[in-house]
Amino acid sequence: MTGRGRRNLFAAALVSVPLAWTIVFMFAPYAIMFTYSFYTKKFPMFVPDFQFGNYLMLFQDIQYRQVFVRTFKIASIVSLVALLLAYPVAYCLVFKVHSRKIRMAIYMAIIVPLWASYLLRAYTWKTILGSQGVLNSFLVWSGILAEPTPLFLYNQFSMVITLVHIFVPFMFMPIFTALEKIPRSLLEASKDLGVGRLGTFLKVTLPLSVPGIVAGITFTFCLSFGDFIAPFLVGGPDGFMIANIVQSQFGTALNWPLGSAISIAILAIVLLVITLSDRLERAGRLDLG
C-alpha cells in the first residue's frame, strides 16, 4: 500500500469514529423516536401506525400548551438572569483584572462547578432554600423574618435559581471569550475619539460581544428548556416542565407515541432557536481582522 493510501485509510478511520458515534447515539435514536411519534397508543403498549393524532393532541389538549408556555417562560427567565449575572463578571474579569494568573484562577472558579454532579448542586439549593434551610435560618436569626418563609423552595423561583446556578457557566464562557477577543486598541480608539466609558461600552464593547451573548443564550435556553431534574427536586406543584411530560409519557402513562411526538416538538424548538441564533450572529458577523 502506498503512503498516501495508508494516510487516506487513517483519515477515514479517524473520521469514522465520530461519525459512527453520531449515527448510533444521535440519528438512530431520533429516527426511532420519529417513527414512534406516528404510532397509536393501544392497551397495554402501542401499535405501529401512521397518523398525526399525537401531534394534533399537542394543540388540542390545553395541558401541553400550558406546559410549553411555562417551560418557555422559565427557560427565558433563566437565560436572562444568567446573562445579567455572567456579563458583568466576564466584563470585570476581562477588563478590570490585569493579572493573568488571577484572571485564570477566577475563570476556573466559575467553571469548576461544571465538574460537580448536577444532582449534588440541585440538592445543595434544597438545603439552602428550605423552610429550615440556611437562608431561612439566617433571616430568622438576624431578625429580618419572624418565622421561616416557605417562599424560597418548591416553586418557580427555586427552579430558576437552581437552573441559573447550574447553567450560568454556559453563559459565562462564550461571553468571556468574545470580550477577550476585542482588541484593547478599539476601546482606546473610542476614548481617543472623545467617547466616554459608557459610550465606549454601548457602542463598541457591547456590539462586539454580541456573538458571545447569542451563543450563551442559546446554550442556556436550550439546556433549561429540556431540563426535568430541577422541577423534580426543587420545583413545586406549578413547576411541571415539558421534559417532565415526556418523562411521564414514556413512564407512568406508557404512551411512547405521544412522548415521542413531544420530544420531536422539543427538538424542533431547540433547532429553531439554534438556527435563529446563528442567523442573528451571522447578521452581526464581525471580522476582527
Binding site: S185, E188, D192, G196
Partner: protein, 366 residues
C-alpha cells in the same frame, strides 16, 4: 509656541522597570517630530502618556498650555493613529470616521460633510460604505488617518503607523503623510523604530534610549553630528573603531586601533593613551583605485571578505585586523564600480574622508 511640554515624565511597569525615565521635552506648534528608537526604548509609552492611555508615576503633560496629566483620553485635544489601525469592525468606513462626532451628537449634515472632507483628504471617498474587513492594509491606514483628523486635533499622534505595510506602500505613505502634515498645518508626533522613515518625514528627531531622550535635532544634524556612538550607529550605519590616542600635535590627533594608525583633524584636546571611539560612515569610505590617496583622506589596508549587492549600493566587508569587519558603501549608479571589483580575498586599500571621522571619548559598548 510649544504645543506639547513634557516635564520630568516618568513611568514604570511591573517587571519592565522604568520605561520612561525623567523625560522633559518641548514640541512646537506645527512641527513634525519623530520619536525614534529600538523597541523597548520607551517611545510608544511616551506617546501613550501624551494620549492619556497611561498615567505617569511622576511628571506632567501639557498640551497647548493646558496641564492634561489628570485628564482622560476623551478630554485631551489630541488624536491617535494606532499601529493596528483599531478600526471598529462593526462599522462602515464613514461610521468609523464620523464615530466621535456621532456620539457627541453633532448635526447629521455637519457629520456627513466632515466625513467626506476627511476621506477626501486621504483619498478614500469612494470607500465610504465599505466595511474595514473589505479594505487593504493601506486603505485601513487611510481610514485610521481620516478618523484621527476629523476632529481637527491640535496634535496628531502616530504610533508606528506604517509598520504593517509593505516596503513600496510604506515609501508612498511617507510622502503622503508629509503632504498631509503640510495641508493640515497641525503638529504630528510620530513614533517609529525605522530610521529611514524618521529621516524622510521629520522636521526634528528625538532619539530615545532606555527611557531617555539621548539626542534632539534635525535629521542632517543627527546624521552628521551624532552625539554618541549609539546614535551614530542607529541613524544609518557606522564603523565603530575602538582606539587609543597616540599623540596630539596642534589640530592633528594621532590614534591607534590595533595595527591601524590614523591621523585626524581635531580641535578638541585629548590625553595621551586616552580611550576613544571612532565612527566612520561606510559611504564616506572607498576602495582606493589610485596608488596615492587624495588629500584629506586617510588610508587603511585590509583584505576583502565579500561584496553584498544591495541594488543601488554595493557593500564591501573588509578585514582590517580588528574584531569586526570594516564596511564600505559604493554608489553603483555613479561609478559603475561593479565592473572592476577587487576579488574576494585580495588585498585592498581603503580611503576615508578624514573630515567625516567622528571621535567620541571612551570605548563604545564598554
Amino acid at each position: 509656541m510649544n504645543i506639547i511640554e513634557l516635564r520630568e515624565l516618568t513611568k514604570s511597569f511591573p517587571g519592565a522597570g522604568r520605561v520612561v525615565d525623567n523625560v522633559t521635552l518641548n514640541i512646537r506648534e506645527g512641527e513634525f517630530v519623530t520619536l525614534l528608537g529600538p523597541s523597548g526604548c520607551g517611545k510608544t509609552t511616551t506617546l501613550r502618556l501624551i494620549a492619556g492611555f497611561e498615567y505617569p508615576d511622576r511628571g506632567s503633560v501639557r498640551v497647548s498650555g493646558q496641564d492634561v496629566t489628570e485628564l482622560a483620553p476623551y478630554h485631551r485635544p489630541v488624536n491617535t493613529v494606532f499601529q493596528d489601525y483599531a478600526l471598529f469592525p462593526h462599522m462602515s468606513v464613514e461610521q468609523n470616521v464620523g464615530y466621535g462626532m456621532w456620539i457627541a451628537r453633532a448635526p447629521r449634515a455637519e457629520i456627513a460633510a466632515r466625513v467626506i472632507e476627511a476621506l477626501r483628504m486621504v483619498g478614500l471617498q469612494e470607500k465610504a460604505k465599505a466595511r474595514p474587513a473589505e479594505l487593504s492594509g493601506g486603505q485601513k491606514q487611510r481610514v485610521a488617518l481620516a478618523r484621527a483628523i476629523i476632529r481637527r486635533p491640535k496634535v496628531l499622534l502616530l504610533d508606528e503607523p506604517l509598520s504593517a505595510l509593505d516596503a513600496k506602500l510604506r515609501e508612498a505613505m511617507q510622502v503622503e503623510l508629509r503632504h498631509l502634515h503640510q495641508k493640515l498645518g497641525i503638529t504630528f508626533l510620530l513614533v517609529t523604530h525605522d530610521q529611514t522613515e524618521a529621516l524622510v518625514m521629520s522636521d526634528r528627531i528625538l532619539i530615545m534610549e532606555r527611557g531617555r531622550v539621548v539626542q534632539d535635532g534635525t535629521p542632517p544634524d543627527l546624521y552628521e553630528r551624532p552625539a554618541s556612538p549609539y546614535v551614530a550607529n542607529f541613524l544609518g550605519t557606522s564603523n565603530l573603531l575602538r582606539a587609543n590616542v597616540a599623540g596630539q600635535d596642534g589640530d592633528v590627533l594621532a590614534v591607534e586601533a590595533g595595527p591601524i594608525r590614523l591621523r585626524v583633524r581635531m580641535s578638541r584636546r585629548f590625553e595621551k593613551t586616552e580611550k576613544v571611539t571612532l565612527a566612520i560612515r561606510p559611504e564616506k569610505s572607498a576602495l582606493m583605485t589610485n596608488a596615492r590617496p587624495d588629500p584629506g583622506r586617510a588610508v587603511i589596508s585590509g583584505r576583502i571578505i565579500d561584496h553584498l549587492f544591495q541594488g543601488d549600493v554595493l557593500r564591501t566587508s573588509v578585514d582590517i585586523g580588528l574584531d569586526t569587519p570594516f564596511l564600505i558603501d559604493t554608489q553603483l549608479a555613479s561609478s559603475g564600480a561593479s565592473q572592476r571589483l577587487p576579488p574576494t580575498g585580495s588585498e585592498a586599500q581603503i580611503s576615508i574622508d578624514e573630515a567625516s571621522i567622528i571621535i567620541f571619548p571612551g570605548w563604545s559598548g564598554s
